[in-house]
């Protein structure tokens, strides 16, 4: 155990922690840029939506289901040519952004869709009755009203993506996941693996606690 306080190991964990945090935040951010509009589009173009285009909504839903049905570990391998084409490599944290974003975007679209659908249809109808345009309804009704729910969704999405990023350690991604797999699985140094696992658990707890608190504090339905 004393070996754990070796400065070299400490450095290893610090770098791993940084890589995991960077991978998770970057891929969550990019995935939200794509997934948030996609989730809104799913609701807006739905048969009962404010811009009904049922065929588009159904087609989008099918594409999302297809990607979502692929286990992440398989997706990692399948998209390797795409990863190489975009980043020039298939190993390291940066390369892992490609499969992470591909896996997280449809997931986030579904999470956003769920949050938006929670809004009372009457509120949207009232806005329509007042002459609000679809864009005004999205910006001034849907997003603010779903705010706390979207934040909880983002918290769940971030922890899920953190898990994905750790899994990517298996095919050459970086971060804490890679440390846990390389030291724990390949070299059987269980104590180092345990430290990496504990750090991952702490990260998830931190994100969950922090996100949940902001969501609760921002929700005006709770008095």
């Amino acid at each position: 155990m004393a070996a754990l306080f070796d400065p070299k190991l400490l450095q290893l964990f610090l770098i791993g922690l940084g890589e995991t945090a960077a991978m998770t935040l970057a891929s969550t951010g990019i995935s939200y840029l794509l997934g948030l509009p996609l989730g809104l589009l799913l609701v807006l173009t739905d048969r009962d939506g404010i811009m009904p285009k049922p065929s588009l909504s159904r087609a989008l839903g099918m594409v999302i289901n297809c990607i979502r049905s692929l286990p992440f570990i398989i997706l990692l391998v399948v998209v390797m040519p795409v990863t190489r084409a975009i980043t020039g490599t298939t190993v390291g944290s940066k390369a892992m952004l490609v499969p992470l974003v591909i896996a997280a975007t449809p997931y986030i679209a579904r999470v956003v869709e769920g949050s938006i659908r929670e809004i009372d249809a009457g509120v949207i109808e009232a806005a329509q009755a007042m002459g609000a345009s679809p864009l005004q309804i999205v910006l001034r009704v849907m997003l603010p009203e779903a705010g706390p729910s979207l934040l909880i969704g983002a918290t769940v999405a971030t922890t899920t993506i953190l898990g994905y990023s750790a899994l990517s350690g298996i095919v050459g991604g970086g971060g804490l996941g890679a440390i846990a797999i390389n030291y724990g699985y390949y070299r059987r140094t269980t104590d180092i693996m345990m430290v990496a696992v504990v750090l991952l658990v702490l990260l998830v707890q931190l994100v969950q606690e922090f996100g949940g608190r902001i969501a609760r504090r921002s929700d005006r339905r709770l008095t």
Binding site: D120, G122, V123, E125, A126, A127, Q128, A129, M130, G131, A132, S133, Q136, R140, V141, P144, E145, G147, P148, D219, R220, R221, L222, T223
Partner: protein
């Protein structure tokens, strides 16, 4: 009902429905919610639409601002044929038609003031100006001390007052009320009805009230239309419709009511038909029963 001359819109009619039909099509089949409704509502009146649940009242009022698009027929509000407008033109016309609902439908994450600002902000009124007007409106509906409260902190009656202030923000000519008091207790209902009557008097705004509560009609309506199974049965003054000697309306409205309420209702309708009872007294009797 007054005869409706095709193509001629009388100047005092603010809402004209011509041959309005609505048919809902679902996988289970078709439902004819409204059948060839012809109806004119005059400028400045409080007009009631009554009928039992499923009669098509809600569909009818939702057709007036095209929240529900009629399958056939024309909707003309303030001289504009809404059924002929593009989506953008329709949105503009909707600024002139306020609406309140049974479930209030306020923005839950916004304060009372922000809720009343909403219709102003979407029409491009600058924020400062919008807040000033919203504040004045909340004073008018008696919520001066609740401007920064969120809907979750308000009672049902207070929420409906916010909704009324919101509906009035853009100075509409018409206010549509879809079962606006049905979720409220009798006392709160009374105060909301008083407020609606006051608004009608002060602003000359035309109010269309959908309700299954007889007392709402008695209290505030000038004229009433009765709907049954999507058909317009009759239109006339409150006395004419509720005091009909055949008592058909009363018959239909009292089904399912407790015995004492039914008796009270029958007595009131009889007195109305005899001209013994005036609006205010009718309400007084209604309260004492």
């Amino acid at each position: 009902m007054r005869p409706l001359r095709k193509g001629v819109i009388m100047s005092e009619d603010i809402i004209v429905l011509q041959q309005l039909s609505k048919c809902f099509v679902s996988e289970q089949g078709q439902v004819q919610a409204l059948q060839a409704i012809n109806l004119s509502i005059r400028k400045g009146e409080i007009f009631g639409i009554i009928g039992r649940s499923g009669a098509g009242k809600s569909t009818l009022v939702r057709c007036i601002n095209l929240l529900e698009r009629p399958s056939e027929g024309r909707v003309i509000v303030d001289g504009q044929e809404l059924t002929a407008l593009s989506p953008a033109q329709l949105r503009k016309q909707r600024h002139g038609i306020g609406m309140i609902f049974q479930g209030f439908h306020l923005l839950m994450q916004k304060t009372a003031l922000q809720n009343v600002c909403f219709p102003l902000l979407i029409t491009g009124v600058p924020r400062g100006e919008a807040e000033k007007r919203a504040s004045a409106l909340l004073d008018e509906v008696g919520l001066s001390d609740k401007k920064n409260a969120y809907p979750a902190q308000l009672s049902g009656g207070q929420m409906q007052r916010v909704a009324i202030a919101r509906a009035l923000a853009t100075n509409p000519k018409v206010l549509l009320c879809d079962e606006a008091t049905s979720a409220l207790d009798p006392e709160t209902t009374q105060s909301i009805l008083d407020l609606l009557r006051e608004i009608n008097r002060r602003h000359g705004i035309t109010i269309v009230v959908i309700t299954h509560e007889m007392r709402v009609v008695e209290e505030i309506c000038h004229r009433v239309a009765e709907l049954k199974d999507g058909l317009l049965l009759r239109v006339g003054s409150v006395e004419e419709v509720l005091g009909d000697p055949s008592h058909q309306t009363v018959e239909r409205l009292t089904i399912g009511l407790p015995q004492d309420e039914e008796t009270a209702l029958r007595v009131r309708c009889y007195l109305l038909s005899e001209g013994v009872l005036f609006e205010e007294e009718g309400a007084a009797i209604g309260r004492s029963v």
